[in-house]
Amino acid sequence: MVHYGFDFSERYKVPVMLRITTRLAHSRAGVKRRDPRKKNDLKLPEDLHQFVLLPAIARKRYHNLLKMQDLFRQESETSSFNQYMDGPDKSLGIIVCGIAYNYLLENYPDRHVPYPILKIGQYPLPKKMIERLYAECKEILVLEDGYPIVEESLKGLLGKGLKIKGRLDGTIPRDGELNPNIVAVSLGMKNTYGMPVPSLMVGRPPSLCSGCPHIDSFKALNEVLEGLPKGRVFSDIGCYTLGALKPYEAINSCVDMGASITMAKGAADAGLVPSVAVIGDSTFAHSGMTGLLDAVNDKSPITIFILDNGTTAMTGGQDSPAFGKIETICKGIGVEEEHIHVLRPLKKFHKENVKIIKEELAYPGVSIIIPRRECIVAIDKRVREKFKKAAIV
């Protein structure tokens, strides 16, 4: 499909997107590899205005794109990724997309589905195929993972009349991941739910590792903020987002990368003081710096924690792009040197850390607190690699 997508993109000079829903992104299987294709020669664009989206050019590009829609539709009607598979029982016609097709087949051990099936893998929707299914069947069932994209599109494509079953009429739950059981039940088959989960079962949410430096940072922050109404700590995405859960309950937001600083700034500008941002060293490098510049320019009264564990822990321990540069970056952006503090997040320094944080929360400008201690998983990995090397030598 990816090969086809690249070819399609080259042929029509349009971007092609591969849409993979929940489960497909987390599945593996044995694959047969084909020979890699020779890399295309590097080529500069023939149309030098192609990527210059000035309004006048953008209007023209959009007009051309619209003109190509008929071609795309024709491609869809004949694409091998859109298949009409006839079946003898016309009481139901099934429109099925992507991984939902796997779930459908799972419910027929001999892999023979009695109903006509339209399997859709390429957009725009193949209108003629849909019209055929609509004309030949009494009801339509739409099976797709994630949002009901195809089901909603049918509304504009088909006239009123046949019942369309799917996420919108409640045949399939409106939200949540699709699975073979939901598909079975939607086809009138029985649910094969096995033994119930014993009543003693409890949830087990993910947690910070014992010995994690973030734990000490959160303990210090919590102590400083004790007594103040909660909801003033804006955070970001990383292991430290787990600080929102019990027992710490130290942070109150995780929206998008870098939003800790911009949200804290917005809150402070609106009058919330103290206002705190908590961001990891890698996230800071990725998208915290622009927000910091804005806060410095406006001298917003915020305290920013840059939790520096020396690695990108959550995604498996890649190097952090700001490694060894955080203070320099902050100074370069204009944070006053006396309001940049590096702390050692350890129990024995707790008191001292609390004191520094308290002072900086009281400062009516941008303060940076950098609790710095290596991720314990990263240490473990580093030490093991060192021993391995020693053993080889």
């Binding site: 299987a29 059981n181 649910n191």
Partner: protein, 195 residues
């Protein structure tokens, strides 16, 4: 031949290694394989679950339907119980009895074991203890895999080959310890089945 397996445990307990070993062995035997990480495999300390399906025929769904799993392999006793709705009436549960207590409300261990003993088909072993005897606590996951090996409908030496290839980079000692762990688990189950 078909084996639908649910792998369960707590993040960081080595479920990915179990999946990799069974998967490698399956592909070596030209079996079809689908593996799906159903729940937070990268989240330390949280419950994790992986679906592993192997078959000599093409596999349709990436997810195991309710009531169809032939085997639940769990490296932790409470986690073994979490996925019972997926177990087939003839299915086996192979679990380590060593609890991983990182939540304050972890149920009383006796009650957890009572629930396991209620199951029609189960193997429960203290994988940590057996791993310790071999000299590495880290191989507890492989002990559990060994205990499940008689239910995999797979040649034992294919699992051994997979361990050799997956742990090769970690040195001969690691490979040998893991081979011993696999054998120790297998021996435990064989003793249980043929006392």
């Amino acid at each position: 031949m078909k084996r639908d397996i649910i792998l369960a445990g707590v993040g960081g307990q080595g479920i990915i290694s179990i999946a990799a070993i069974i998967g490698t062995a399956a592909l070596e035997q030209d079996l079809f394989l689908k593996q799906s990480e159903v729940h937070g495999m990268c989240q330390r300390g949280g419950d994790v679950q992986s679906n592993l399906r192997i078959s000599d025929k093409e596999i349709a769904s990436d997810l195991i339907p309710y009531g169809k799993a032939d085997l639940i392999i769990s490296v932790e006793p409470l986690e073994a119980l979490r996925y019972l709705p997926f177990l087939s009436p003839d299915g086996w549960v192979v679990t380590s009895t060593k609890p991983y207590i990182n939540i304050p409300e972890y149920p009383e261990m006796d009650k957890v074991m009572d629930e396991i003993r209620k199951l029609p088909h189960y193997i429960a072993l203290d994988a940590d203890e057996l791993a310790k005897e071999i000299g590495t606590l880290k191989a507890a996951n492989i002990v559990t895999l060994g205990a499940a090996s008689p239910f995999l409908d797979m040649q034992f030496d294919k699992l051994e080959d997979a361990i050799c290839s997956i742990f090769r980079n970690k040195g001969a000692d690691v490979v040998n310890k893991n081979l011993q762990a696999l054998k120790a688990g297998k021996d435990f189950t064989e003793r249980q089945m043929n006392p």
